[in-house]
Amino acid sequence: MTTATQSAEITTTVKRRSPLAETWDNLRRSWAGMLGLTLIVVHILIAATSPYWVPQDPYQMSADNRNELPSAEHIFGTDKLGRDVFSRSMLGGRVTLVVTLIAIAIAILWGGLLGILLGLLNGRADELIMRLVDAMLSIPWLLLLLIIISVMGTEMWVQTLTFGFTYGILTIRVARAATLDFVTSEFVLSARARGERKRTIVMKELLPNVRDVLLVDGSMNWSWMLLGFTSLSFLGFGVAPPTPDWGFMIAKNREIMAIQPWSVFGPVIMLSTLIIGINLFSDAFAKALGLDRSQGAPV
């Protein structure tokens, strides 16, 4: 179809560039992607360094300064207990970021590999596990998270594993679907006809081709996971007080929203800038990798 352009490109791209540099080049050309990446980086920097520079002690309560509106001293005002909302907003993403980042790595790893393997086997095990996955997905996700966490407790590592596990279930489907595009392709048939082991086929033939899809899917899932974690905090199953956390702050300060709206706006602004940043980045990242949703299937 694109015969004319293809052959021209073949000869021009002989100049070798690593795929990573190529992706970065494409990403740099998208202002939305760069904005997203900047937001994410700023958030990570804030999370990492905020304890050292926030203007007020985020734990310091003050009976005299409760529900104060923004002032020079308290940029976002204070909450019900007189704590500085700005400082707490800055620190509020620390636990969230650590938990979700580790969890997303776990999800990609186990969900991705299992999904690829199921796509390759495509037999009874695949059938069985996929029905199990369907069954899991039919449970409302918040309910599923709540059940696991109320049984296992609210320690950070439990939450990390829980999120890694539940979002891995979503990743299985994505990885399996992406793998099915390649399983019948001739290079996989060729490896099978050579008598290669399943492990080699998964690691050498399939994973490099599915990797991009997994990365993009992971970054999209990250924003969902942030919302999930914040929702749990909002319901009181997240970070134990008094550690500042966006979800918990929104839940508690909601009561004084009419008097001191900034006590809610602070964490909301932080959370939404991060999620918008992740979404902008994910979209641009997908395009940079050539997985543009508007252009159909990844190849």
Binding site: A8, E186, F187, K204, P208
Partner: protein, 713 residues
């Protein structure tokens, strides 16, 4: 000028890359098409022929722009029209028929409804008038039972029938011109011959002008009045069809014609060195780096498209006089290289009564009393001798890919035995010992799909080396990679390239190198050249022949192109619906007596000769499943004897007391010989026969038992 329907004037089209570099696609193209004329536009992939075809309809690929020149359709300069005005031309005065008809039909609408839309939009008819016109059109493209066909959905039609429906749609407004972009590529030879006949008839009936774009010179020779040859975005020769094939004046035209395998000549055709440049990058003639007539002027100065001594024969070459000095037909005979092979008498692989099925009963099927459908491949008994090339020949659905995949261990055999060095190959690959896997290697049709895009050549070649020679260390493997690349005539530096950085021919060489990395006894070649351009195909055939001579490798070669088979094979097995029809050496198969199916196939071949006319024996209706009893070819056979063919499996008959040539048919050998002699008497009228074609393609037919081959094209 004014008597031209289409006048392309000095058209230059290009696009900017992401790094703001200008890349030309077309370079100063001049082309005129007169009303009622059929122009064949021919060239290899990437030469810009599709871009030119689309430009004639005022369409540019996104990102491309007109850098100079104009396209006039009648009075209109198509690139100065607004979209409303363009719409009034497209479809009504000029219509496009694309390559893949299945993609251009909407799957959720009935075929008749889609044609009705075209009629209502472009021909201003409505209601019952439009309906009558729709049925008339379906009849005009010779679809049987037009009223019934209109009620079907696209997937209920075969590939050839879909293409006919698309042609009907294009004819709705009786356009003055049709642009056909490779409309028969991917169809079976018999279907292709039928469609081309139809197009010829339509053109002569309706006086429509036609531009036929194709890379296949046999097709071009069949349909065209005039041929324009493109190379690197330029038209380099433009002349009458007979001149083009008998007295080509451009060295590239000669090279291209010499690289096509021919039925009339034996051996492997000549291959051209090098590959086309990006248009507009050569200071002189774009073909100069590959040309054997190159002189100083060719490198410094671009040749113009000039007429040869006042004739209508135009050529873009400084040295055409020198080229024309040698007679082309003599030159052609000299370039074919005959290969000598010493095939052993011992057999490498022996198949006996092999049957293969895709039917996998589900849990509920086991409780039903329905009988199992006939196996996709059945009753295959043949032996492949060491060091020979056996070709499996047949249309799509004939089971050739199925057999090869079974030999490769990707599918188990249902019945029968396949013997290879005392080992039974009827089991799948994970039940075979590693040495057996090593000895049988597979090369696929499409090198784009058979190489992992995420591995470079070194990694690709490393895989079989690591698997079969675990004792090799890194350096040894590296040396072996370079050696393998050199054996397939690639530079050792290709190790670091990724598939996306190589041309189709180079990729296929890497795929061949990967197969030979295992040092195999048997190489299975599944349509290895059909995705390649003709000049590249010749080089790959040449390479395969050389590799075979060095190692006495056995080839099992699948091809649908019978000229390619003639060039490379020693023996041929003709298959229809997974059953053998005829078996013999190349010479025996290509000369009478023929099995009726072999005769049908051979009759439908298009050769690059404008005087050749294909003989259409049987209809082109494909069958999705073999018949339950009797001869597999019974439903399409032009000579069917009736009941005996429907009931009994025909016997093998030897054609001579010596040799292995055998035909599986109820008609006796003497009769087949006699029939061939006075075949003019019994040849059925083509139209009449189509009316009687069997209705097989149906929505409820069991698709799961059809072979995957249909999708492979």
């Amino acid at each position: 000028m004014s008597d031209c329907l289409v006048d392309v004037n000095d058209l230059t089209i290009g696009y900017y890359t992401q790094r703001k570099k200008l890349v030309h696609v077309l370079m100063g193209v001049n082309l005129q098409i007169k009303p009622g004329e059929t122009l064949g536009l021919v060239g290899e992939s990437g030469c810009g022929k599709s871009t030119l075809g689309q430009a004639m309809m005022g369409y540019l690929r996104s990102g491309s722009q007109v850098l100079g020149g104009s396209v006039f359709f009648g009075e209109h300069n198509v690139f100065s029209l607004n979209s409303k005005q363009l719409e009034s031309i497209r479809g009504r005065q000029i219509a496009l028929i694309p390559q893949n008809a299945g993609d251009s039909l909407t799957p959720t609408l009935r075929v008749g409804k889609q044609i009705l839309e075209a009629i209502e939009l472009n021909a201003n008819l409505s209601g019952s008038e439009a309906k009558d016109r729709m049925i008339e059109l379906l009849g005009q493209v010779r679809l049987p039972h037009p009223e019934v066909m209109g009620e079907r959905y696209p997937h209920e039609l075969s590939g050839g029938q879909q293409q006919r429906a698309v042609i009907a749609m294009a004819l709705a407004a009786e356009p003055e011109m049709l642009i056909l972009d490779e409309p028969t590529t991917g169809l079976d030879v018999t279907t292709q011959a039928h469609i081309l006949n139809l197009l010829r008839d339509i053109v002569s009936e309706m006086g429509t002008a036609m531009m036929y774009i194709s890379h296949d010179l046999g097709v071009i020779a069949r349909v065209s009045d005039r041929v324009a040859l493109m190379y690197a975005g330029e038209i380099i020769e433009d002349t009458d069809v007979v001149e083009m094939f008998r007295m080509p004046a451009h060295p590239y035209a000669r090279g291209l014609l010499e690289s096509i395998p021919r039925l009339s000549l034996s051996g492997i055709p000549n291959s051209m060195p090098g590959q086309p440049p990006i248009p507009g990058t050569e200071p002189g003639c774009s073909f100069a780096p590959r040309c054997k007539f190159t002189s100083d002027i060719c490198i410094s100065e671009q040749p113009e498209l000039e007429a040869i001594q006042g004739t209508e024969h135009h050529v873009r070459c400084h040295n055409w006089e020198q080229v024309l000095a040698t007679d082309f037909s003599q030159e052609l005979e000299q370039v074919f290289r005959t290969i000598s092979r010493a095939a052993h008498d011992e057999s490498a692989i022996e198949l006996s009564e092999v049957a293969i099925t895709y039917y996998r009963p589900g849990i509920t099927d086991r409780f039903r009393s329905e009988s199992e459908p006939p196996a996709t491949v059945s009753d295959i008994t043949l032996s492949v001798k060491r060091g020979e090339t056996l070709a499996l020949v047949g249309e799509s659905g004939s089971g050739k890919t199925t057999i090869v995949r079974t030999l490769a261990g990707l599918l188990p055999a249902k019945d029968g035995t396949i013997k290879f060095e005392d080992f039974d190959l009827s089991v799948e690959v994970d039940k075979r010992p590693r040495e057996i896997c090593k000895d049988i290697q597979l090369i696929f049709q499409n090198p784009d799909a058979s190489l992992n895009p995420r591995q470079n050549v070194a990694e690709i070649l490393d895989q079989p080396l690591k698997l079969y020679f675990p004792k090799m260390n890194r350096d040894e493997r590296r040396d072996r990679q370079i050696e393998l690349l050199e054996r397939v005539r690639l530079d050792g530096r290709y190790r670091l390239r990724y598939p996306g950085q190589m041309s189709g021919g180079e990729k296929q060489r890497v795929a061949i190198a990967r197969a030979f990395a295992a040092d195999p006894e048997v190489v299975l070649c599944d349509e290895v050249t059909s995705a390649l351009d003709v000049s590249v195909q010749a080089a790959v055939l040449d390479l395969l022949a050389d590799l075979q001579q060095e190692r006495h490798t056995t080839y099992i070669f699948i091809a649908h192109d019978l000229a390619v088979v003639k060039a490379i094979a020693d023996r041929v097995a003709v298959l229809y619906q997974g059953r053998l029809c005829e078996l013999g050496t190349v010479d025996e198969i290509y000369s009478p007596p023929f099995h009726p199916y072999t005769e049908t196939l051979l009759g439908a071949i298009l050769v690059p000769d404008p005087d050749h006319e294909p003989q259409l024996l049987a209809s082109d209706t494909p069958e999705l499943a073999p018949p339950a009893t009797g001869c597999s070819f019974q439903r399409r056979c032009p000579y069917t004897l009736g009941e005996i063919c429907e009931q009994e499996i025909p016997p093998w008959q030897k054609t001579a007391s010596r040799g292995d040539h055998s035909i599986r048919c109820h008609i006796s050998i003497e009769e087949l010989k006699r029939m061939y002699k006075d075949k003019e008497l019994i040849r059925l009228d083509h139209n009449e026969h189509l009316e009687n074609e069997p209705q097989i393609v149906h929505a409820n037919s069991n698709v799961s038992i059809s072979s995957p081959e249909a999708d492979d094209r």
